[in-house]
C-alpha cells in the first residue's frame, strides 16, 4: 500500500491547490431605468459594424452561477440594443472566456482573446482578477500601439482600480466601495437602533476594502457606533457559517455589514436564519444568484442592500427584466451589463469609429443613457457617476410586482442618493496615450 498512500498525498495536494487557486472572485450589483428615447440617426461610418467583446469571467467553479447569469445578461442586452436601437447603429457580440475565478487564468484568457482579435474586454467578478487584467492591459497597450484593448469593468469595486492603480484603459460601471460605503454610512447614520456593528467579509481585496471604508465612513458620521467584531474568512471555502454566526451573537452585535457575494452570501444568510438571528443585515449583493431564495426561506429577514440598482425600475428596464425572466426563468440583476453596452454604443457614436483608442477618448466625460437617467463617465479616473440606492427586502406589491427568484419578494427602494452625494474624490494620476 506504499504507493496508495503516496497517491493519496499527491492527490490531496493537487485537489487542495486546485481549490485554492480556483477561488478569487466577486460579483455584481444591480440598477435600472429610463424610458427608451428615440435614437438619433447612426453615423454612417459605424452603422452595421459589429463590436466584439471578450467576457473574461469565472464561468466554472464555486461562483459559476453568477458568471453564467451575467454572460446571459450581456448577450441579452446586446440583442436588445442591437443595430438601429443604439445611437451608433452597431451590433454587439459577447464571447465567453472562462477565467475560473483566478487572476493567472484570466491573463491566459486575455492573451487568447487578444490573439483572436478582440479589442474590447469585460470582467467584473473579483477585484483580484480585475487588478491583474487592468495592469496587463495597460502593459499590452503600451507595447502594442495600434492593437490597444479597452477594459470595461462591470462589477469589481475595489477603489484602488480608480485610484492608485488607475488606468486610462479601464472604465468602471459599478459604484466602487468608497462610494457605496459613503451611501451606506449616510443611511445607517439615521438608523438610531444601530449601535454595535459586526463586519464579516471575504478575505481578499474587495472584502478588506468593504471593512475599511465602512469603519472610516461610520467613524466620521456616527462616532458612537461601535465595531464589535470583524471577520475576514477565506473566499468560497466556508461551507458552514454557523460558527461565525455564534461569534456574531457572542459579540453582542445589533447589525451586520457584509460585502459577501455568491455562495458565501447565500450560506451566511442560511446560517443566520438557522440560528434565528433577525438582526439587520446591510449587504452589497443580496440579490445575486441563489441569495434571494435563501432570504425567502428566512421569511422576515431584515436585509438592506446598497447598490446602483433595485427591483422597482419601470419602463424599458422593467420590461427588460420581465423578458429576461420569461426567456431564461432567471433574474437579470447585473444592470451594469446594460450600462456597458449603452456606454459603448454612445462612445462609438461619438467617436464615429469602433477603434478602441478613439472610443476610449470619446467615453471620457461622456454622458449617456444610464439606468437612473443620465450617467457620466468621470474623466479623471474613469469611474461612472450615477445614483446609488438603499433598498430593502420586502414583499412584492401590485405597484412593484417583480419577484426575485420567484420568491414573491424584491428589493424596494428606501433611499435614493443623487450621484453627487456618494461621489468620492480620486487620487488617480492618469497617464493618457499621446
Amino acid at each position: 500500500m506504499k504507493f496508495a498512500l503516496k497517491a493519496v498525498t499527491a492527490s490531496v495536494v493537487l485537489l487542495t491547490s486546485g481549490l485554492v487557486f480556483a477561488q478569487a472572485a466577486k460579483p455584481a450589483a444591480k440598477p435600472a431605468a429610463a424610458a427608451a428615447p428615440t435614437v438619433a440617426a447612426a453615423p454612417s461610418e459605424t452603422k452595421g459594424q459589429t463590436v466584439k467583446i471578450a467576457m473574461i469571467e469565472g464561468l466554472s467553479g464555486a461562483f459559476a452561477n453568477v458568471g453564467q447569469n451575467q454572460l446571459k445578461s450581456y448577450q441579452f442586452v446586446a440583442e436588445r440594443l442591437a443595430g438601429a436601437k443604439n445611437p451608433a447603429g452597431v451590433n454587439f457580440e459577447f464571447v465567453a472566456f472562462d477565467n475560473k475565478g483566478s487572476p493567472q487564468e484570466a491573463l491566459n484568457q486575455l492573451k487568447a482573446a487578444i490573439d483572436q482579435g478582440f479589442r474590447y474586454v469585460t470582467q467584473g467578478n473579483s477585484s483580484a482578477v480585475a487588478g491583474a487584467l487592468s495592469d496587463a492591459i495597460s502593459k499590452h497597450n503600451e507595447r502594442n500601439p495600434g492593437k490597444e484593448v479597452v477594459y470595461l469593468n462591470y462589477a469589481a469595486v475595489d477603489p484602488a482600480l480608480t485610484n492608485e492603480r488607475c488606468s486610462f484603459w479601464h472604465f468602471r460601471l459599478d459604484a466602487d466601495t468608497s462610494m457605496k460605503m459613503e451611501a451606506l454610512t449616510s443611511f445607517v447614520k439615521d438608523e438610531a437602533k444601530v449601535k454595535s456593528v459586526y463586519l464579516i467579509n471575504q478575505n481578499y481585496a474587495h472584502g478588506q476594502q468593504v471593512a475599511k471604508y465602512f469603519k472610516e465612513g461610520i467613524a466620521r458620521k456616527r462616532p458612537d457606533v461601535k465595531i464589535v467584531g470583524e471577520d475576514l474568512h477565506p473566499i468560497a471555502q466556508v461551507k458552514d457559517f454557523s460558527p461565525y454566526v455564534a461569534k456574531i451573537k457572542a459579540a453582542g452585535a445589533d447589525a451586520i455589514v457584509t460585502g459577501n457575494w455568491g455562495t458565501d452570501m447565500t450560506l451566511l444568510v442560511k446560517a443566520l436564519n438557522d440560528a434565528g438571528m433577525k438582526l439587520p443585515l446591510y449587504a452589497y449583493y443580496a440579490g445575486v444568484s441563489g441569495t434571494p431564495t435563501a432570504l425567502a426561506q428566512g421569511k422576515d429577514m431584515n436585509v438592506s442592500q446598497v447598490a446602483i440598482s433595485h427591483s422597482n425600475f419601470t419602463g424599458e428596464l422593467r420590461q427588460l427584466r420581465n423578458d429576461f425572466k420569461t426567456k431564461f426563468n432567471d433574474d437579470y440583476y447585473t444592470f451594469q451589463t446594460y450600462l456597458a453596452v449603452s456606454m459603448l454604443a454612445q462612445g462609438v457614436a461619438n467617436a464615429k469609429s469602433i477603434d478602441p483608442v478613439k472610443v476610449a477618448f470619446a467615453m471620457e466625460d461622456m454622458t449617456f443613457k444610464g439606468i437612473s437617467g443620465e450617467a457620466k463617465m468621470r474623466k479623471s479616473d474613469h469611474q461612472l457617476q450615477q445614483h446609488i440606492y438603499i433598498s430593502k427586502w420586502t414583499k412584492a406589491t401590485a405597484k412593484d410586482p417583480y419577484s426575485e427568484e420567484n420568491t414573491g419578494f424584491n428589493f424596494a427602494v428606501v433611499k435614493a442618493l443623487e450621484p453627487y452625494v456618494s461621489s468620492t474624490p480620486t487620487s488617480c494620476q492618469m497617464k493618457r496615450p499621446s
Binding site: 500500500m1 493519496v8 490531496v12 486546485g18 459559476a64
Partner: protein, 329 residues
Amino acid sequence: MGHLRAPFFLLNIDMEFFTNSLLNGISYGLLLFMLSSGLTLIFSMMGVLNFAHASFYMLGAFFAYTITQFLGFWVALFIAPLVVGIVGAGFERYFLRKVHPFGHVPELLITFGLAFILLELVQLVWGRASLDYRIPAALDGPLFTLFGTQFPKYRAFMMFVALMMLLSIWLLLTRTRIGLVIQAALTHPETAQALGHNVPRVFMLVFGGGAALAGLAGVIGGNAFVTEPGMAATVGSIIFVVVVVGGLGSLGGALLASLLIGVVQTFAVGIDASLVGAAASLGVAVTSSTFGYELLSLKVSQVAPIMPYLFMVLILIFRPKGLLGTREG
C-alpha cells in the same frame, strides 16, 4: 489579563458561545463523516482511491432535488441514494473493473475522469445555477433555543442520520453474513473466490454502497447548504483530509477525524488571538514594521478554514498511518 482565568478571558469564551460552538462543531463534524465514510469504506475494501466521491455527493443532491419535486423529500431520502448507488455500482462493473488489472494509477485516473464527466452531465441536465432545494416543512424551524440562539431541527436530523449510518455500516460489516463475506473477500480474495463467493460482485456492492453513502450525504447536505454544480469541488479536498487524518480505510478514524476537524475548526473561528497579541502579553512589542508582521498578525479565526489541511500535513509527517489507521502506508 493577568488572572488565572486568562485563557478563557483571552479567548473570550463564555458558556453560551462554548455550547453553541460545540453543537455546531459536532453537527458539522458528523456531516463530514457522512461525506467521508463512503470514501474510506471503498478505500479500505478495494484499495481504490475514488476521486469521484464528492461527485456522488453532488449527484445525490441533484437527484434528491428532482425527486422532491414529484414525490417529496422523504421518498427522495431513500430513492436518491439508491439511484446514486446503482450509478456507482454500474461504474464499477463496466469501467473500474476493466482497468483494475492494470494497477492503481489507471484506477485513480478513471475516477478522476469520472468526476469531470459527472460535473458536465449535471450542468447539462440541471444547468449551472443553484437550485431551490429546500428543507422539508416538517424539519424547518428551531428544535430548541439555547441562550437565545436557536438550534435548527434540520441539524439534529443530520446528526441523527449520520449516527444511524455509522451504526448500520458497523452492524452490516460485523454482524451479518454479507459483511463477513465482504471482509473475507477483501483480505483474502482468492480464498473467498475458491470457496464459491463471487468476489467481483462483492466489490461492485462495496463500490455501489460507498457511492450511495455519498449520495445520502448529498440528499441531506444539498438543502442544508447549497445545491449547485460547484458543490463537489467545495467538499472534494476536505473529505480526503478527513480520510487521511483518520487513517486510510478506518471507519472509526474517519469519525474521530471528522468530529475533531469540525469542532476544532468551529472553535478556531471564535478565537481572535494572534501572535502579535501573544507577544504583547509577553511584553514584546510587535508593530507593522516588524519583520513578518503580516504573518504574525493573522488571527486564529482567519487560519481556521485551512486548519484541516495543516492537520493533514502534520499527520502525514508524524503519524502517516493516521489517527486510527492500521497500515503504515
